[in-house]
């Protein structure tokens, strides 16, 4: 039997979100479903690298914390949890929960695992064009680590119909995690594009978590937040007609109003009249937001047209290493000494680049021009008290990256006065995300149900 409305909550806005906020949502939100987005563009490729190198799990490293803190409470409250926490290894996440079912108190929990988003073999056979390079996948110079299609809500819908308490997937599109319980509970047909767009819009607003409840917002005196110490993820009451009221937890800090919702609506959207997701092409241009009168924000007006025939694939490519380091100067003349250091570094790194595998490098002055380069405002009346010099390079091999970072540190011994080396070199593997498209019919997703 379908309902007139359902409340769903956000439990995560990517791989670094706090588990405690998801727990708060289950405890205080009175939600029927909690959806957790656990993946950004390269998260999955990094997970695949961890898995193949044996340095960590292919699933979200928060899986044990979800098992200990979140899932037992969700079970107690009757909240169904949906998450792409499986990343590169959804079955690995299931195995973890199976192994610890007694310790976590999850025995008897009905779990659905969705896979089939891994299309690496298919991609190697069909060799599609890479959007960023306009060349074929096989022409990518470096090694492909992973290729995962963004898959839609359908398998989650089936899992819910089968009575799943927990749904684990890999590269399920962020908004699809939220759309599935809406379509299931509210009885939306698979070709009811306007309602699927409305649900996608709700998912879009919830998937970035605190971005709609006051995060990335305060810019005093123009925009302010009352209480930064008590954040809340968002939740939504969604009606069968697709209208929704966004809310945050009672008593929480932060801010949820028409302004925070407007700012998030076009976030990471390109053409708002044709926002593509695996489930529908949404038109957000006519959306309206208003104060609901009871502390929430009402959202209405998304419309939709049939879903795309092709699915986007995120292709992870290992492209060497980034090496970076910083050195700092303070007091009178700090900027002059930083400029002196910058000149030394430019000549040294430039010299290294002539015989090392250094593809690109730069030297920035933090506090002066590191974020906006030459577009930084020069109209400051007083020179900065502190300046940090940062050298960074993208290199073909780890040793070149280390050499660049070492040049920065060496400024302590041969460079301007008062160099503070409080930073430590960062050497990190680069996994670039490229995109390609595959036919929907060529992606065979699978649903596996099991009881812990």
């Amino acid at each position: 039997m379908t309902r007139n409305s359902v409340r769903i909550g956000s439990g995560s806005a990517g791989a670094i979100d706090r588990v405690e906020l998801a727990v708060d949502m289950v405890r205080g939100g009175d939600v029927k479903y909690l959806a957790l987005d656990c993946l950004a563009e390269r998260t999955l490729a990094l997970a695949q690298l961890r898995k193949s190198a044996g340095t960590g799990p292919g699933y979200d490293p928060r899986v044990p914390a979800f098992g200990k803190q979140l899932l037992p409470l969700a079970r107690e409250r009757g909240v169904t949890v949906i998450a792409n926490m499986g990343a590169a290894d959804p079955h690995g996440a299931l195995e973890h929960f199976q192994e610890h079912a007694d310790a976590y108190g999850l025995r008897g929990l009905k779990v659905a695992v969705i896979d089939g988003d891994d299309v690496l073999d298919h991609l190697k056979q069909t060799d599609p064009v890479v959007m960023e390079t306009n060349r074929r996948v096989s022409e990518l110079a470096n090694g492909i680590v992973s290729a995962n299609a963004y898959i839609g809500y359908e398998r989650i819908f089936e899992a819910l119909a089968d009575g799943a308490d927990l749904v684990i997937g890999g590269r399920i599109a962020d908004s699809s995690l939220f759309l599935a319980p809406l379509a299931y509970e509210l009885g939306w047909a698979a070709d009811d594009w306007d309602r699927l767009a409305a649900g996608t819009c709700v998912g879009h607003l919830l998937e970035c978590g605190t971005y709609v409840t006051g995060g990335n917002f305060a810019d005093p005196p123009f925009t302010t937040i009352d209480d930064f110490d008590n954040p809340s993820l968002p939740m939504a009451d969604v009606s069968a007609d697709g209208t929704a009221v966004l809310r945050k937890l009672p008593g929480s800090g932060g801010r949820l109003d028409t302004l925070t919702c407007k700012l998030q609506l076009a976030y990471e959207v390109h053409d708002p009249t044709q926002h593509r997701s695996p489930d529908v092409i949404s038109n957000f241009a006519g959306i309206e937001v208003s104060d609901s009168g009871d502390g929430g924000v009402a959202i209405r007006g998304a419309t939709g047209t049939p879903r795309p025939e092709q699915l986007k694939v995120v292709v992870g490519v290992a492209e060497g290493f980034i090496g970076e380091n910083q050195i700092s100067y303070a007091g009178a003349g700090a900027l002059d000494r930083a400029m002196l250091a910058k000149g030394i570094l430019e000549r040294r790194i430039g010299g290294l680049a002539s015989d090392r595998d250094i593809e690109e490098w730069r030297v920035d002055l933090l506090g002066v021009n590191a974020l906006h380069g030459n577009r930084s405002s020069v109209s400051v009346d007083a020179p900065p008290y502190e300046v940090h010099v940062r050298g960074a390079a993208r290199c073909g091999d780890r040793r070149a990256a280390e050499a660049v970072a070492a040049e920065v540190e060496y400024l302590m011994l041969w460079g301007p006065a008062g160099a503070a080396a409080g930073h430590r070199a960062r050497i990190a593997q680069i996994v670039s995300a490229y995109s390609a498209f595959v036919d929907r019919d060529d992606v065979s997703t699978r649903l596996t149900m099991c009881t812990l």
């Binding site: 123009f222 407007k262 700012l263 990471e268 906006h372 577009r375 680069i430």
Partner: protein
């Protein structure tokens, strides 16, 4: 009517997002009058001039009239994107603050 020069920050807030090498900067005015003013004055040309060499490719401005929002979509704007950029702000989140420093003439004094 007396007019004055304002920074975008005085009349609107902004947020930047990234998809690959594409940066989008959303600008939302505080009041309805601000939307009409920004539609007139915060043109692609002004934004291109302000962002300069940070944006290599096209800039397209989309309008969301239902929520009085402008969305600037900038291609080739993130030095290859968050996954391979060697810039400190690889996501380009601080590009929203750059947008807010842009100054416009003609705001009612």
């Amino acid at each position: 009517m007396a007019v004055k020069r304002v920074s975008v920050r005085e009349i609107a807030c902004a947020r930047a997002g990234d998809k690959g090498d594409v940066s989008n900067v959303v600008v939302v005015p505080y009041e309805a009058a601000g939307y009409e003013f920004l539609r007139e004055e915060l043109t692609v040309e002004r934004v291109r001039e302000h962002f300069g060499e940070l944006v290599v490719g096209d800039i397209v401005r989309y309008e969301l009239p239902g929520i009085q929002t402008l969305n600037f979509v900038m291609t080739g704007a993130l030095a290859g994107g968050v996954t391979r950029s060697i810039w400190l702000d690889a996501h380009g989140k601080s590009r929203a603050s750059l947008m807010l420093t842009l100054e416009l003439d003609g705001w009612p004094a």
